[in-house]
Amino acid sequence: MPFIEAIGQQLAEMLKKYSADYIEAHLEESQTSHIAYRGRELDSIGRATATGGNIRAMVKGAWGFVSFNDLNELANKVELAVKQAQLAGREQSQLAPVTPVVDAVLTETDRNPVAIPLAKKKQLLDEYNDVIWQTPKLQTSIAGYGDSYKKVIFLNSSGSYIEQDRMDIALRLAAVATEGNEVQQAVMSLGSRGDFTEVQGLHHQVEKMAQRSVELLSAPQVKGKEYTVVLDPVLAGVFAHEAFGHLSESDFVYENDRLREVMTLGKQFGGKLLNIIDDPTMPRLRGSYKYDDEGVPAKKTYLIREGKLVGRLHSRETAAKMGEKPTGNARAINYRFPPIVRMSNTYIEPDSASFEDIISDIKEGVYARNWYGGTTSMEMFTFSAGEAYMIRNGKIAELLRPVVLTGNVFTTLMNIDAIGNDLEMNQGGGCGKGGQVPLPVSNGSPHIRIRHCLVGGK
């Protein structure tokens, strides 16, 4: 690997020589390894190293951005970024002020998961795969493990110079069962901030997942209509992220007057019991960091407090344009992309209800657990549960085929009328926005109850 530290020092001198309103640079070196099984056969195993960087310049309110793998002739790259910004710039640059930071946030490299022998990672997947394949009627399975270690240097024309490293592990397992023409699958997705022990010892959960794929073969499909729906912590966390979280990303809002009206601070979005938070300073979660990719210190941000909209997530530019404080939420998935406003660890704060309290007065409802995925288009959201059950007369009843829940964010938030006391953070999956996917994030919630939620079905 080349020494990005040395290049970083050179660049720091260089950035001072150009006339732009602002210039920043990211340099990155990374190592990754992955192992994937499809069925009983190993499908892919590989290792990779990458080195690259980018220069971002702002002139008269517009950005020039140059990214590269080739670290030679950096002066030309800085020049190109400045020239591009000049070409596009027609207004005034606005960036919220941030005190320049010089810091190195480095973990002990002996925790680097990429350095763990491939044999050990393969053994773990072999064990999980064996567990899955003990299930009858199983057609196939998918098991994927990936890890990464990367070191990023951020520097800007105001004198910030920050070195950070981060490690990440993602594990995804799926079991596919068939009978006649029926095909059903169950999935499990989790991750950690580089701690391998967090993906070990899950044999029992894996077994239950495989069994569920088989049980789904004979499960009925729910009748499509409105239900009272109870979400488990995983799915409620996805809901907080997808349905509401993306709306509080200010880059959607800051230059859109209509949307600014919709998202006016102080507006009532839910009941008094509802609190939603984004917090990159929580320890050891996949969405945690000390500085964002604009060198802004991370902080805890209340998005909804007692049902009222009280905050939103910012980059330096969106904060300046909206006259608010930067929150440290500008993140880039890697050097090939500029930082954009993203969530970190997003969750619904726990209240006091027990799970029994939440379901006991539901005559007919749906209990949705786990997640396949979710997307949002501002006011409309769709998210799918990996596991669902009918609730009948206050009790969990029969297993259902996977359900898809959809609705309008604003009405749905208002319809949350019970929040549990059992907060759990989910580390699986990753977030996609603007082609930058999967960004490590986490989300969480206690159990929540939503009245009048539209469930897709026959």
């Binding site: 892919s44 950005w63 209509r258 919709v262 288009s377």
Partner: protein, 433 residues
């Protein structure tokens, strides 16, 4: 590259080096205004080795890290899957035009003008709309060499133009948009603008549909967002080999409506999904998948084809990893019915232009369920307005078994799907009404 191959051959029985280098320049508009100009330079080298009969794999962006790359690939080969194929030896490739030097010569100012013109056209129709637009040009070179003397090279240019508009009234949000791509420069924005203006026209009023079974017309963009992904997975030779494809054991059988013809085609001139060979150096070919409703073939790379005792169809794709079968461009043959004829045939029904969340269901079984992000109510043969809070649920195989009519309006949606509108007799609709 030759040096990497030579070093790998010293340790492994067989080796293949794949290199891709690209440069892309794009101008991006936010909130109707020019906001970003990006240029992205990428280069990477992937090494696949076969050692003691097993496959190893590594990649790097560092051209000087030759020995480290070889060492990493060899390390993974210890655990790799047994290789069942041979790298292709030197062969001739079909001549497929995918490079036009004019793309690289388009000045940034011209790209800016194109984006501004597109936004101006849309704003003159609907002044309140907020557009995000992008115009991009790219140039990529691919080179593959292997230890059996195989060698392939090609260069591809891509030009693209796209826009997404949002119109917000209180908490009501409407999203419209379209894009166009080619290996040649696009000189006008008319085609994209016309589609967006049509969407805005159809969405002017709001309408609601009852929750029941209704006839549905999927526009080309509706087909792409709702129906194609499950088919791409089902026709993937790997899914078939695993026994997870619902059509895997139905070769030659009538599974779909007899009017339906589908093929995978990386050989069409100046299309971004086209190429003379796949990422393993297998020559590109057009592969028939559905012939008059019957399942005709599946898509393979070298390894999967060998395991299935068949030939690679030239569909080996690297998405940052080892080659794996993947669709290039799915093309559905057009029919003879116009879109207007389809709509005028419907007493009460739905036109789906964009379905959200369709891919979250059980993709393998073909079940889908999604929110109609952009769709229109049809009443007495006419589009009367846009529907909201509407969800549709169905199964791709049931839906495509009986198609009332196939449109004559086939067009590209993105770079990998060309399809006409499809008129289906019934689909389950749930709605807030």
């Amino acid at each position: 590259m030759e040096d990497i191959l030579a070093r790998a051959k010293k340790i492994a029985e067989e080796a293949e080096v794949f290199m891709v280098a690209s440069e892309e320049t794009s101008v991006q508009f936010e909130t109707n205004r020019l906001k970003h100009i990006h240029s992205i330079q990428r280069s990477s080298v992937a090494l696949r080795v076969i050692q003691h009969g097993k496959i190893g794999y590594a990649t790097t962006t560092e051209p000087d890290n030759r020995q480290e790359l070889v060492n990493m690939a060899v390390e993974t080969a210890r655990f790799g899957m047994p290789a069942r194929f041979e790298f292709p030896s030197l062969t001739t490739y079909p001549s497929i035009e995918v490079f036009d030097a004019n793309v690289g010569a388009v000045p940034i100012e011209t790209m800016i003008n194109l984006g501004e013109e597109l936004i101006a056209t849309i704003k003159s129709h609907t002044p309140d709309i907020i557009c995000e637009a992008g115009v991009a040009r790219a140039d990529a070179s691919v080179r593959i060499i292997n230890s059996r003397g195989g060698e392939a090279n090609y260069r591809e240019s891509i030009f693209s133009l796209g826009v997404e508009g949002s119109l917000i009234r209180d908490t009501d949000m409407l999203f419209v948009g379209d894009s166009e791509t080619s290996c040649q420069p696009l000189t006008e924005s008319k085609k994209v603008a016309e589609i967006v203006l049509q969407q805005l026209e159809f969405a002017q009023n709001q309408a609601s549909v009852p929750g029941k079974l209704l006839p549905v017309v999927f526009t080309p963009r509706g087909v792409a967002s709702a129906l194609i992904t499950p088919l791409m997975i089902a026709f993937n030779g790997k899914t078939v080999l695993e026994g997870a494809s619902p059509i895997g054991n139905r070769l030659g059988e009538p599974v779909f409506d007899p009017k339906l013809w589908l093929w995978d085609d990386p050989t069409i001139a100046y299309r971004p999904a086209s190429r003379p060979c796949d990422d393993e150096g297998t020559p590109s070919q057009r592969t028939s998948l559905i012939e008059g409703g019957k399942v005709a073939h599946f898509l393979y790379d070298l390894q999967t084809a060998a395991l299935a005792h068949t030939q690679s169809t030239g569909n080996g794709d690297r998405n940052g990893g080892l080659p794996s079968p993947s669709a290039t461009a799915f093309v559905i043959a057009p029919g003879t019915t116009t879109f207007d004829e389809m709509v005028s045939d419907i007493k009460e029904g739905l036109v789906i232009e964009q379905l959200m969340g369709a891919e979250q269901g059980n993709i393998l079984s073909g079940d889908f369920s999604g929110n109609v992000l952009l769709g229109y109510k049809v009443e007495g043969g006419k589009i009367v307005g846009r529907v909201k809070d509407t969800m549709v649920t169905g199964n791709v195989y049931q839906l495509l078994k009986e198609i009332t009519a196939i449109g004559s309006d086939d067009q590209w949606v993105g770079s990998s799907i060309k399809t006409p509108s499809l008129y289906c007799p019934r689909l389950s609709v749930a709605s807030r009404g």
